[in-house]
């Protein structure tokens, strides 16, 4: 059993729905995961799998209405964030948990100097003077590889990759215990992606921050993370260390994901994409959500609750067909 003290974030059976009129979009359907101190967890899944909703739930910034956290616990340093009053939550956001947003083009305020935007978090959480906060902000700018001279520049004067560095600087300004990176490289071009990733990895190690890395790129996960969780239709279908996920892949969805990646070592002529589309989250099927697309699905898969099976310690799979 893991040491309880090492666990920083523990999500238990989180359920988040978006309710608009009569339709209920079941974005997150009972996910559980743990992040230890200093550890990086990759949350992988396709668009609409509920990855960002999970991140927003941890930050408690789900737009309400229409979003609602229906059930579950988000224990951060032993406290349930779902029950924390907004006043207390404000002290957690940006200070203990912070977030890197997907698109640096829209995540920065266009009419505010970037340095001020970095200093903003410091001034909100640490009782320091404006000039001290500015000095701290400049130090962080240097850390993410942007000259402190550019403190007074506006976002439109930076390139996409540099803007993402600023976003990273904002997120790390208060040395958070947990960093949520929501597809930090999706909006960047390929040459910059590697730089930004290695920067995130370097800073995460340096500051001993835990990280939840949200991505749909399995390659990114291998580079940075120690554990991975594969999400499909608001559920974690496979969860384990990189060793478990990559070398002992069990869930048909995860197998499908790997099948749709180009591979240099095997002589494969065609990629094997997963057939079909993800089920409509407002109208999910009974039984296993992946059953309609699953090549191994049988009648038992289409009814009732699918249990989570622990194949090895720490390797969890939500599938009836792989448990033996």
């Amino acid at each position: 059993m893991q040491d309880k003290n090492r666990i920083l974030l523990e999500i238990e059976n989180l359920v988040v729905h978006y309710i608009t009129g009569k339709t209920v979009v079941k974005a997150v359907n009972g996910i559980s995961l743990q992040i230890e101190k200093g550890e990086a967890l990759g949350l992988v899944g396709e668009t609409g799998a509920g990855k960002t909703t999970t991140a927003y739930s941890i930050m408690q910034i789900i737009p309400d209405p229409p979003g609602k956290i229906i059930d579950g616990k988000i224990l951060f340093e032993g406290e349930d964030l779902n029950k924390l009053p907004e006043r207390e939550m404000k002290k957690v956001r940006g200070n203990k948990i912070s977030m890197i947003f997907q698109d640096p083009m829209t995540a920065l305020n266009p009419v505010m100097e970037v340095g001020t935007q970095i200093a903003e978090g410091i001034r909100l959480h640490e009782h320091v003077s404006k000039s001290e906060a500015n000095i701290k902000a400049m130090q962080i700018m240097e850390k993410v590889g942007i000259s402190a001279e550019r403190f007074s520049d506006y976002p439109h004067q930076f390139s996409g990759g540099m803007k993402q560095r600023i976003v990273i600087a904002i997120a790390l300004a208060c040395h958070p215990a947990l960093l949520i990176a929501d597809e930090p490289t999706t909006a960047l071009d390929v040459t910059i992606q590697a730089q930004v990733l290695s920067l995130i990895e370097k800073l995460q190690k340096e500051m001993d921050t835990s990280m939840l890395l949200i991505t749909h790129d399995l390659g990114v996960v291998t580079e940075i993370c120690q554990k991975a969780a594969i999400m499909y239709a608001g559920e974690i279908v496979e969860y384990g260390t990189l060793e478990h996920i990559y070398n002992n892949t069990r869930h048909p969805y995860t197998i499908g994901l790997f099948g749709s990646l180009p591979n240099f070592t095997d002589n494969v002529r065609r990629l094997k994409p997963i057939k079909g589309m993800m089920s409509d989250p407002s109208n999910l099927p009974d039984g296993c959500f992946f059953a309609p697309r699953c090549p191994h699905a049988t009648e038992v898969c289409r009814n009732g609750q699918i249990p989570v099976i622990e194949l090895e310690p720490g390797h969890l799979v939500k599938c009836l067909k792989c448990g033996y």
Binding site: M59, I61, K90, K91, V92, R93, G94, N95, S98, M99, F101, Q102, D103, T106, A107, L108, N109, P110, V111, M112, E120, G121, L124, H125, E149, S152, D153, Y154, Q157, V167, I170, A171, A173, C174
Partner: protein, 300 residues
């Protein structure tokens, strides 16, 4: 030589930094400078403001210096705009008249701008019931023609400078409220607002530091444009006797008292009328110019 070169590069370097730092305002200013009519109007407005501030020094006569021996004289070198029925110099009265007009415009616009922005912010940001109740209130104000509203408020409160300001100001609150609310509705969905929330910023902080600066440009433009309307409204109120009372020199009341003499003495009403027209026109063109400079996308 070598030394000079190095200072040159330092200067160039600091200029570069400085230039970048100022670029947002500078860009707007440079675009504005290209707009010749707007520059002319800015110049006219500057002149008017100077006239209003230094009226004592500029005006050749006092605004209330009566002399019945020189009444109703046509424009001449001595009295460039002529004299009125009490022998007062019309040019001097127009110069003094810039004071109440500009003052009413400035105060009423500031008042309605702040009130409207506040209502728009609260309504747009908090949404739902707050939005509905505030905006229905705004609808009620807007359902009444603004001149009617101003007249009834002025009639209720009585004449006087302060009351004119309130009467003119209230009618334009809906314009700002709607404008700001619309901007906020689109702004609050932006990711940087979420990002601000994710660093622990509260609602008030987000509204003042992130949302308002982003919708400042349309507010400034709207304010400049409505200065013209405010001047017309104030002059209109004075014209019908609900605004600033004679003998205080005011363009609207000068028009009003001169209208009986209009057929025989054209100059008594022409110059105050021209002044109103020119001022309103200048502010409108300036507003247009500001809009084009601040948001080049809007320009056709």
């Amino acid at each position: 030589m070598n030394n000079k070169n190095s200072t040159d590069t330092t200067v160039a370097y600091s200029n570069e930094i400085f230039g970048r730092k100022k670029s947002l305002l500078k860009e707007v200013w440079e675009r504005f400078l290209k707009n010749k009519p707007a520059i002319v109007c800015l110049f006219i407005i500057a002149l008017l403001i100077i006239c209003a501030v230094f009226a004592e020094q500029i005006a050749p006569y006092g605004p209330d210096d009566q002399d019945l021996t020189r009444k109703l004289q046509l424009p001449s070198l001595k009295f460039p705009f002529g004299t009125d029925e009490y022998g007062r110099d019309i040019l001097s009265r127009i110069i003094y008249g810039a004071r109440p007009s500009l003052l009413v415009a400035a105060v009423s616009v500031t008042f309605s701008c702040i009130a409207g922005t506040f209502i728009g912010c609260v309504a747009g940001y908090y949404g739902n019931i707050v939005d509905n109740s505030f905006m229905r209130l705004i609808d009620i104000i807007q359902a009444i023609p603004s001149m009617m509203l101003a007249i009834s408020i002025a009639a209720m409160l009585g004449s006087g400078l302060g009351n004119v300001m309130i009467a003119v100001g209230i009618g334009t609150i809906p314009n700002y409220a709607r404008l700001v609310r619309a901007s906020i509705l689109s702004l609050k969905e932006q990711e940087f607002i979420e990002a601000a929330r994710s660093v622990g910023a509260g609602n008030i902080h987000i509204i003042f530091r992130h949302i308002l600066p982003n919708c400042l440009a349309p507010i400034i433009v709207q304010a400049t444009m409505s200065i013209g309307a405010a001047i017309t409204a104030a002059a209109g109120l004075s014209f019908i006797g609900l605004g600033i009372m004679p003998p205080t020199p005011e363009w609207g009341s000068m028009l009003s008292s001169g209208r009986a003499l209009m057929r025989r003495y054209w100059h008594v009403v022409t110059f105050p009328g021209l002044m109103i027209m020119m001022t309103v026109f200048s502010f409108n063109i300036l507003g247009d110019g500001l809009r084009d400079a601040m948001d080049p996308r809007l320009k056709k």
